[in-house]
């Protein structure tokens, strides 16, 4: 992780507290690369319905970099890193909706919280949120056939509902609590949820894996009746996933790696080839 003041990075700070939403998909390494300070400052953003320049809303330091640092409250700034394919955005604060949605590559690190649609329909890259996130992280947008298609989303805090909705590939790991309908309609991919989860995880999933560790969870929600228990075992693939997370620096307890898991398959109203693995302490 890079700190402020490092060579060759671009630093943005909001000039004011935004009272209406800002749309700023131009805050993206793809667009900041090979642009002068002046050119970056002239990129278009929307403050509500007013089209403005980036420099009207933000203090900008630096130029021509794929390494972007955001300082301050960006919780009303939407679409940061939308569709980005490379480079890095480090957000030292909270961030608004659609952060990293449809991104194809690169890295986004959020020190604070992120709002809904984080990494929605993403196609690659890494998003790491230290705080909590809203609904629909890694999900499909309304009407779409599938959500996240590749890449990785790591969340240390809690999440809202329908995380990983209709995801097809990729990995989502959540340290904190997750909301209802985790991995609803999943087509593939892997979700690892370390704490408590809301109701109906895996509903309507066709394929894919949801792993529940239910840490500190005294009263886990019952699975849907359309999931059926198969066996208790130690899935090797899970060891690979957990080791990979650890290598990246995401906290994973040793006992999970060698642990046993109850395997349920479902959702039998759909294809039924999905699975929920529940850690057995």
């Amino acid at each position: 992780m890079s700190g402020v003041g490092e060579m060759n990075e671009i630093l943005l700070r909001p000039k004011v507290e935004f009272d209406v939403p800002v749309e700023a998909e131009v805050i993206s390494p793809d667009l900041f690369a090979e642009k002068s300070h002046e050119e970056i400052g002239s990129l278009p953003v929307f403050l509500g319905n007013r089209k403005m320049c980036l420099k009207d809303l933000f203090e900008i330091e630096g130029q021509s970099s794929t390494n972007i640092v955001l300082e301050g409250d960006f919780s009303r700034v939407k679409k940061i890193g939308y569709g980005m394919s490379r480079g890095k955005i480090h957000i030292k604060g909270n961030v608004g909706m659609h952060t990293g949605a449809t991104m194809k590559g690169g890295e986004i690190i959020v020190e604070g919280d992120a709002m809904d649609w984080l990494g929605a329909e993403m196609n690659g890259g890494l998003i790491w949120v230290k705080g909590s996130v809203g609904h629909f992280a890694g999900a499909s947008y309304w009407g779409s056939k599938h959500g996240m298609n590749r890449g990785m989303i790591l969340i240390e805090g809690n999440t809202g509902n329908e995380v990983g909705k209709k995801m097809r590939r990729g990995t989502i790991a959540i340290k904190g609590k997750t909301g209802d309908f985790l991995g609803v309609g999943m087509i593939g991919g892997t979700i690892l949820a370390f704490s408590e989860t809301g109701e109906r995880p895996g509903a309507e999933m066709k394929r894919g894996s949801i792993v529940l560790f239910l840490e500190n969870c005294t009263n886990p929600p019952p699975l849907l009746p359309t999931f059926t228990y198969n066996c208790t075992y130690s899935p090797t693939f899970l060891r690979v996933y957990l080791k990979t997370l650890r290598k990246l620096g995401f906290p994973v307890k040793e006992e999970y790696i060698s642990g046993k898991y109850r395997r349920y398959n479902g959702d039998i109203v759909e294809l039924g080839k999905g699975e929920i693995l529940i850690y057995e302490p």
Partner: protein, 422 residues
């Protein structure tokens, strides 16, 4: 004294067989209408309404000027309501929202918005209400209570009428109600399945699994014995024409759009066995029209934003309750709805912090808090036009009584004209 044909502008049934006896601008009698319809036409008394600015009487011109100035200054305004007015006014509202680069949302937001979301995920096998009348031998009311919310639905469309291929009427149909409480609708049904709150999703899943011939190791779900559900599935599979009619009992409970998705998926799957369709029971008389007009003009039915000059759609982001709860909008224009009465207080209280304009044909809660209130003539009472029934059938609204007030369309046009001159 004359008798005028009318269409009742109350609920999504849009009964167009109302006969109103009028004398000297007073309604003497409402024939064919339900009790609400009768009240609606007889209690219509627009004369005591005047335009107001900050609670003080103003001229229409002053009110329009002030409304335009509020909207002109706004950077993230909201146009909300739309469901109790004609399509003609709705068109104008879209034009206004687009022109000002605002958000526009209808009351679908808190009635059948989730139904739209489900439809966008899995589709919707549906039909017009006449198909039920003419063919249905199995009618399932799920989380809806037409006896109180759509008072003539049962008599006119779904249960009692004798149809082309169902000459026996009520006797030719099995009626099932699934609800948390034994509503009056449940009491007129052949079968009532009392479901625990928030358990609709599980029950649909079990029905779908049973339909697929899966064995389930449970005795009951959501408070309903498995045997009762097996029986229901058998009835569904073996009927000639089945219909599910559903309401807020599905859209507003935990699971929301996913409850509907499960219901639609069940109905869709049933078509491998027989004919089975589903219709949402839309509440306000022209909320379906709001969906339709917005969709044909913009591609999307509600929860729209025009900040960037083109429509963006995202329920959860541009829906009224969320915009208000997150305190994002900086002005609002409300027509044909009363959010101060109908939205959660946690959300609607924010309206008191921003300037907002209300157009209404009667005194509403929102009107009394509005920065600018402009009384308008009531569509379907004092203005003709088009409205869409819950099943998407367009119905003519008729003028019955005169009104001293302008129409929604005229007021919106007045505001738009002022915004254009600058």
């Amino acid at each position: 004294m004359e008798t005028i044909s009318a269409t009742c502008p109350f609920c999504g049934c849009l009964c167009d067989d109302i006969q109103i006896v009028v004398e000297n601008g007073k309604v003497l009698e409402v024939k064919n209408g339900c009790s609400i319809s009768k009240t609606l036409f007889t209690h219509h008394d627009p004369d005591d309404l005047v335009p107001q600015i900050e609670g003080k009487k103003a001229s229409l011109e002053e009110a329009l000027d002030r409304a335009a100035s509020i909207i002109r200054q706004a950077r993230f305004p909201l146009v909300f309501g739309l469901s109790m007015t004609s399509c003609e006014a709705q068109r104008k509202a879209v034009e206004l929202a687009e022109f000002i680069g605002g958000n526009i949302d209808s009351t679908s937001t808190f009635c059948h918005g989730p139904t739209t979301l489900a439809m966008q995920s899995v589709g919707e096998p549906t039909c017009t209400l006449g198909e039920i009348k003419n063919r249905a031998d199995l009618v399932v009311f799920w989380g809806c209570n037409p006896v109180e919310a759509h008072p003539r639905h049962i008599a006119r469309y779904s249960v009692s009428p004798k149809g082309l291929f169902n000459p026996a009427g009520r006797r030719g149909r099995t009626v099932v109600t699934v609800d948390v409480r034994a509503t009056p609708t449940a009491r007129v049904s052949d079968i009532f399945l009392q479901i625990q709150p928030h358990k609709d999703y599980e029950v649909f899943e079990v029905l779908r699994a049973l339909l697929k011939g899966k064995d389930l190791r449970i005795d009951s779900v959501g408070g309903i014995p498995l045997d009762a559900l097996k029986d229901l599935v058998n009835k569904m599979k073996s009927c000639k024409f089945g219909i599910i009619l559903f309401g807020m009992g599905l859209t507003m409970t935990r699971g929301r759009h996913l409850n509907i998705e499960a219901a639609i998926s069940l109905v869709r799957d049933l078509n491998q066995f027989t004919k089975f369709l589903i219709i949402p029971m839309r509440g306000h008389y022209n909320v379906t029209g709001a969906d339709a007009v917005l969709t044909w003009q913009t591609g999307y039915p509600y929860a729209l934003n025009f900040s960037r000059g083109y429509p963006q759609y995202n329920p959860g982001e541009f829906t009224t309750v969320d915009l208000l709860r997150r305190k994002e909008v900086d002005a609002a224009l409300i027509l044909a709805s009363d959010p101060m009465a109908s939205l959660p207080r946690q959300a609607s209280s924010y309206l008191e912090e921003i300037p907002f304009v209300v157009l209404d044909c009667r005194k509403s809660y929102s009107a009394s808090f509005a920065t600018v209130f402009i009384p308008v003539a009531a569509s379907g009472v004092s203005i003709s036009g088009t409205a869409y029934r819950m099943d998407g059938v367009p119905v003519l609204l008729k003028k019955v009584l005169d009104s001293p007030h302008p129409t929604d369309e005229q007021v919106l046009d007045g505001i738009l004209k002022r915004l254009r001159q600058r």
